[in-house]
């Protein structure tokens, strides 16, 4: 994972303050997310990780400050236009309605489809690409209610992919998945960054996955950004002790030789 000296930013949170109702969660948050990189957002529960993503897709509006995506002020972009810049895989995003996998993924094209017109060739190509990239092409006619957790997560990712954006934000995409499917989704995301130059912003809890897969790590604690650089610089026994209140010890992965931090149980 090499880092060019000059990096452009895909997303910029500029002096962001806000919260729910009168409860202020963020105070003057400043954060740049580099384009074409895998950025993980970590931090204990309630640190404001999901809320940060909600500002990015304009589900919530900050009280003060500005969110920029590709140099556009998010608050001035119409929702449809914003959806062509950033897609999101939400937590609990699966629906319990009996849509087919294809129809479910095709909803990701909403921001591109004109009213009164059906799917264009471009739409279909995009959907096929998303189905292919996430490995669910053969499931297209299955009902999403019949899928396993890992398959359902792929459908959500495919829907976000066919939205055809440069940035994809994911809120805890590997929660509730077994280790095999966790690895599966993480590898897929890493591929999208390496091969397609996508910017991935991912809220994660699995510290081992964060260390292995991400280029940048943003550590949040009580609505503040504690640290943001490479995994090695951010994830230290001291920073984890201060935020998560856990002790960690360093181990060497015998397979790769990399140093990993393991929580002490």
């Amino acid at each position: 994972m090499t880092h060019p000296t000059q990096e452009s930013n895909a997303v910029r949170f500029n002096h962001l303050s806000g919260g729910y109702g009168t409860k202020v969660l963020f105070h003057d948050v400043r954060l740049d997310i580099p384009a074409g990189r895998f950025t993980s957002i970590i931090g204990p529960n309630g640190a404001g990780k999901s809320t940060l993503l909600k500002y990015l897709v304009k589900v919530l509006l900050p009280q003060t400050g500005t969110v920029y995506i590709a140099d556009h002020d998010v608050s001035t972009l119409r929702q449809r236009l914003l959806a062509r810049h950033v897609a999101m895989v939400a937590q609990n995003g699966t629906s319990d309605y009996e849509f087919t996998v294809f129809d479910s993924v095709a909803m990701g094209r909403y921001a591109h489809i004109k009213r009164f017109s059906s799917l264009t060739k471009e739409d279909r190509d995009s959907i096929e690409y998303a189905l292919e990239a996430t490995g669910i092409r053969t499931m297209r006619d299955k009902l999403i209610t019949e899928l396993s957790g890992g398959e359902a997560q792929r459908v959500l990712l495919a829907r976000a992919l066919c939205q055809d954006t440069d940035v994809i934000a994911l809120d805890e995409p590997i929660n509730h998945l077994d280790p095999f499917h966790q690895r599966d989704i993480m590898r897929l995301l890493r591929q999208l960054v390496d091969r397609n130059g996508l910017t991935v912003i991912c809220v994660l809890h699995a510290l081992d996955a964060v260390q292995v897969f991400s280029d940048h790590v943003v550590l949040m604690h009580e609505g503040r950004i504690v640290a943001t650089v490479t995994p090695r610089q951010v994830l230290t026994p001291r920073s984890l002790k201060e935020t998560y209140r856990i002790d960690v010890h360093e181990v060497t992965d015998p397979a790769t030789g990399a140093t990993l931090l393991l929580p002490t149980w």
């Binding site: 589900v59 236009l81 939400a90 849509f99 087919t100 294809f102 909803m107």
Partner: protein, 351 residues
């Protein structure tokens, strides 16, 4: 070949449309013949065929009164039932999707009662200006329904749109409005039957003028709703996913509810409150062909039209010469379904 649920949904859609259309034509034909005045199938056909050619009967196959009954009583009534059924079914489907609640329906939520209260209040209170003509009733129904819908949004929205808080708000609205309507009846005892008409529902007073205004309202409201099938699909997603896919969820929720409320109000103003069609038709269709609105809405219209015609035909024939309010028939069929849905939702939440 892999098992394809999607392919099955598409095939069943076609089957559903064809079968229901045939049933509607057959039932309409039976319905034209049934009633106190006896009219044979041949006579019915001859009357309709002659009217279409603007001709007068030459061979004396039927009497003038029989022609009058078919053309001015039964036919407009049958068509009114079909239009009303279609509109109520579409609006029911829209309500269920916007609230993400299989039990949400204009009748259950008290919006139909709001419409009937609006129309009863305006017409008994003499608030409708003469120039409004045939449009005065639907507009006052719409105002009553809209006020109810806004109140429900306000009250249930505070409860985070949970299924229970929404339904309980609807129950409360129904209590409130039924008290208000009872008060109106008490104060206007000389017009008791008119108020009863709006609360119980009937197609007994259908004529071509009312039918054409109702049909105009149906087109104006249902065509936009049919075109919004993608937005309705996305209403079934969680809010973050729908919004980040480009849907301004709050604005669309308001717009969809406003149009669906308007469509219900127009039906109520002409036929009174008729419950549960908006619950039964979309539910039957969803079970058969899935939740996608591109197919769900048109299919619900056809099924709703059929169910309404069936209910009205039963209502005016099952008791001999005494006519039942059509709302009684739809409630007898629909209330048990509501209970089944309720039990299903509760058991799902416990899991």
């Amino acid at each position: 070949m892999e098992s394809t649920a999607g392919g099955l949904q598409r095939k069943l859609t076609l089957v559903l449309i064809i079968v229901t259309s045939i049933l509607i034509v057959a039932l309409a034909f039976v319905s034209v013949m049934m009633g106190p005045a006896e009219i044979s199938p041949g006579q019915a056909l001859a009357i309709i065929a002659d009217s279409l050619r603007h001709g007068v009967s030459t061979d004396g196959a039927y009497s003038a009164s029989q022609a009058y009954i078919v053309m001015n009583l039964r036919l407009p009534r049958i068509l009114s039932a079909l239009v009303a059924g279609a509109v109520l079914a579409v609006s029911g489907a829209v309500f269920q999707s916007v609230f993400r609640n299989p039990m949400a329906d204009p009748y259950v939520l008290g919006i139909s009662s709001g419409a009937s209260f609006g129309v009863a209040l305006a017409s008994l209170g003499g608030m409708i200006p003469a120039w409004a003509g045939s449009w005065g009733l639907p507009v006052s129904a719409w105002l009553g329904a809209m006020a109810t819908a806004v109140l429900i949004m306000f009250l249930a929205g505070g409860g985070g749109w949970s299924k229970t808080s929404l339904l309980l708000t609807g129950v409360a609205m129904n209590y409130l409005l039924s008290a208000a309507i009872t008060l109106l009846m008490y104060l206007n005892q000389e017009h008791l039957d008119r108020v009863l008409f709006w609360t119980l529902g009937s197609f007994g007073s259908s004529d071509w003028t009312k039918l054409s205004v109702m049909a105009a309202f149906a087109v104006v409201t249902c065509v936009p709703l049919l075109s919004m099938h993608r937005e309705l699909d996305m209403m079934l997603l969680d809010e973050t996913t729908a919004t980040s896919s480009g849907l301004s969820t709050r604005a669309w929720r308001m717009l969809l509810l406003a149009i669906a409320t308007a469509s219900v109000a127009s039906v109520v103003s002409f036929c009174g409150v008729i419950g549960f069609i908006g619950l039964m038709a979309p539910h039957l269709v969803r079970m058969t062909i899935g939740p996608g609105h591109k197919r769900l809405l048109p299919c619900s219209m056809i099924v709703g039209a059929f169910l309404m015609l069936l209910s009205d035909t039963l209502a005016r024939t099952v008791m001999g010469t005494t006519e039942l309010p059509v709302g009684v028939v739809t409630s007898i069929a629909g209330a048990p379904l509501f209970i089944i849905l309720l039990r299903h939702t509760i058991s799902r939440r416990r899991r």
